[in-house]
């Protein structure tokens, strides 16, 4: 069990680290996909099967491809060689985060008791139980999430295409004598 955890942790950290350092954005997206799959592995390790499946389906399957589409539509893929990869004050940003990590997060973690895991034998959550829980006490929240998703869907479509009415009016040029004949 431990080897699996350390392996997956290593892959996750590697994926995330590469994502923020690579110059080529497409490579960055692929490394993030690696990160998401490592996380799915961790979820499986903790017996949250359904969550691992949803993580793979939602993140790798659609959000990853969404990113790729976004990159394809905004052509700046390689990042301008003449523009620095990092924003100007990147040094201070990095230091601030490390300070936050050391100063705040680690002490918090140390205070939480290192509980040992519950006995694994009888604890095998089936998807049916999750379904039941989703339906009776949390039925309302499922409805809200559904509304949120549809609103997000419509909003995304309007935001992405709405701003481009100029393109709708573009008519297909029948004959274009002055067309640059490259």
């Amino acid at each position: 069990m431990n080897i699996a955890f350390y392996l997956l942790a290593l892959v996750a950290v590697l994926g995330a680290g590469l994502a923020i350092t690579l110059r080529n954005v497409v490579h960055a997206v692929f490394s993030v996909l690696l990160f998401f799959s490592a996380l799915a592995g961790l979820f499986l390790l903790m017996l949250a099967e359904f969550i691992a499946a949803v993580q793979v389906l939602v993140y790798i399957g659609s959000v990853g491809i969404l990113m790729l589409f976004a990159i394809m539509l905004t052509t700046n893929v390689m990042g301008d060689p003449n523009r620095p990869v990092r924003s100007r004050g990147w040094v201070w940003g990095g230091l601030a985060v490390i300070a936050l990590l050391a100063g705040v997060l680690l002490p918090l973690i140390s205070r939480t008791g290192g509980q040992t895991p519950t006995p694994l034998s009888d604890f095998n959550p089936s998807v049916k139980q999750l379904g039941m829980v989703l339906m009776d006490p949390y039925f309302a929240s499922v409805g809200v999430i559904a509304l949120l998703l549809t609103a997000g869907l419509i909003g995304a479509v309007v935001a992405a295409t709405g701003a481009s009415e100029a393109d709708q009016k573009k008519t297909v040029p029948a004959n274009r004598p002055n067309y640059p004949n490259t």
């Binding site: 497409v26 692929f30 996909l33 099967e49 399957g61 491809i65 790729l68 095998n124 998807v127």
Partner: protein, 407 residues
């Protein structure tokens, strides 16, 4: 006689593992190997066989004998192709993205082989006994979209770029009808576990009873395909599966008449063979899930179990080959319109239909439910289909053209 074959195989597995009883970690490794290795090898063998089957089938449809030079009926043709692919020089375009150009075929093989693991081959014969097997299958099968995009982008060639974009758009828009038509089955079967879905497709009352006839039909009439919502769901599922596996009427990405070989233009040699194999095995996986959900998995009259599953799998694949030999290709925008504006709403309607059927059956028994389902349910679906196609001014609605013959 039922699932005699599967029990024997499971026993064989136990028997082999018994040898390593005293080293537990080695036993675990052997167990893992036993689960995955035979499955992978058998499906690669099945891939070799289907390439031969496809070439022979297509040839016979086109009134020509098909490969008959290598081996007796051309049976060694796949091996000959394999060797040819190995010998062919593997050209990597100079300006391409070397790493991802190399990774793409592997990225396509991973979801194909994992997807095959979820299939319930027999009564207890499954590689990955996950509780949420069906959802995991759809999640994994969405991975090959990324592999196709990787291939398209990394070979830096405008044809493969066009092909890559088309493939990604097509796969995403057909994933939703695929999942929705499966949702109807999962809702009725009541569980995501593949084995339980298959078990739900037997008429349990008949199977238990002694007399031969009921025993015989009990295992067939229970299949979801004979239920109204099951039949409609199977059509949507099959059409979406064709699109998801880039098979015939939807093989846009490798539309050789338009953009040569789509995202596979820059691949040659063994990488092309792996792509080819990946595509076939993912087609097998989706066909397998189709068989599990709609055609009653390993349920079959006499010796139900692995033989029945394999028989149904290959017959479904034969239908895919048959369609490939007949139908021309759809255009990109028609393809998208068909998925979003036709299959998607109908799949949702089908879920309501399934629910409706389920409650009638619980209320007044299956006979009335069958009746109501087939007449009302199918009528509603038919009505919705005609309404939708009129809404999208789809060509099917146009009147048949008449041509005058003039002096």
């Amino acid at each position: 006689m039922n699932n005699f074959f599967d029990l024997k195989l499971v026993e064989l597995g136990r028997w082999i593992e018994a040898f390593f009883a005293d080293f537990p970690s080695l036993k675990l490794v052997v167990h893992l190997l036993l689960c995955t290795l035979p499955l992978a090898l058998s499906f690669m063998g099945a891939f070799a066989f289907t390439t031969w089957l496809e070439r022979k089938g297509l040839a016979r449809i086109q009134n020509r004998p098909g490969p008959n030079r290598v081996g007796i009926f051309g049976l060694l043709q796949p091996i000959a192709d394999g060797i040819k692919m190995l010998i062919k020089e593997d050209i990597v375009p100079e300006r391409s993205d070397k790493l991802f150009h190399f990774l793409a075929p592997i990225m396509l093989m991973i979801p194909a082989l994992i997807g095959v693991g979820f299939l319930p081959l027999g009564d207890g014969l499954h590689a990955l006994p996950l509780d949420s097997a069906i959802i995991f299958f759809f999640a994994i099968s969405s991975l090959n979209t990324i592999a196709v995009f990787m291939a398209g982008w990394s070979s830096r060639n405008k044809y493969s770029l066009l092909g890559g974009m088309r493939a990604v758009a097509q796969m995403i828009s057909y994933e939703i009808p695929l999942v929705l038509s499966a949702v109807a089955v999962i809702m009725i079967a009541g569980s995501l576990n593949a084995q339980e879905v298959v078990a739900s497709q037997q008429i349990s009352s008949w199977v238990g009873s002694g007399n031969i006839l009921q025993e015989f039909f009990g295992r067939i009439l229970g299949w979801n395909v004979f239920k109204p919502w099951g039949f409609a769901g199977f059509i949507f599922f099959f059409v979406a599966a064709l699109a998801e596996a880039n098979r015939s009427p939807f093989d846009l990405p490798e539309a050789d008449s338009e953009i040569i070989a789509g995202h596979l233009t820059e691949y040659s040699g063994f990488k092309y063979a792996i792509f080819f194999m990946g595509e076939y095995i993912s087609a097998f996986a989706i066909a397998g899930i189709g068989v599990t959900l709609f055609l009653g998995g390993w349920n079959g009259p006499v010796f139900s179990g692995l033989p029945w599953f394999v028989l149904k799998l290959f017959s479904l694949f034969a239908v895919m080959i048959w369609i490939r030999g007949t139908l021309p290709r759809l255009r990109v925008d028609q393809l998208m319109g068909y998925a979003w504006k036709f299959l998607f709403p109908l799949a949702i309607l089908n879920i309501f239909l399934a629910g409706f059927y389920h409650f009638i059956e619980r209320q007044w028994g299956t006979a009335i439910a069958m009746l109501a389902g087939w007449i009302l349910g199918f009528g509603a679906l038919q009505l919705a289909a005609t309404a939708l196609s009129r809404l999208n001014q789809s060509p099917i609605m146009r009147s048949k053209r008449v041509y005058q013959l003039v002096e």
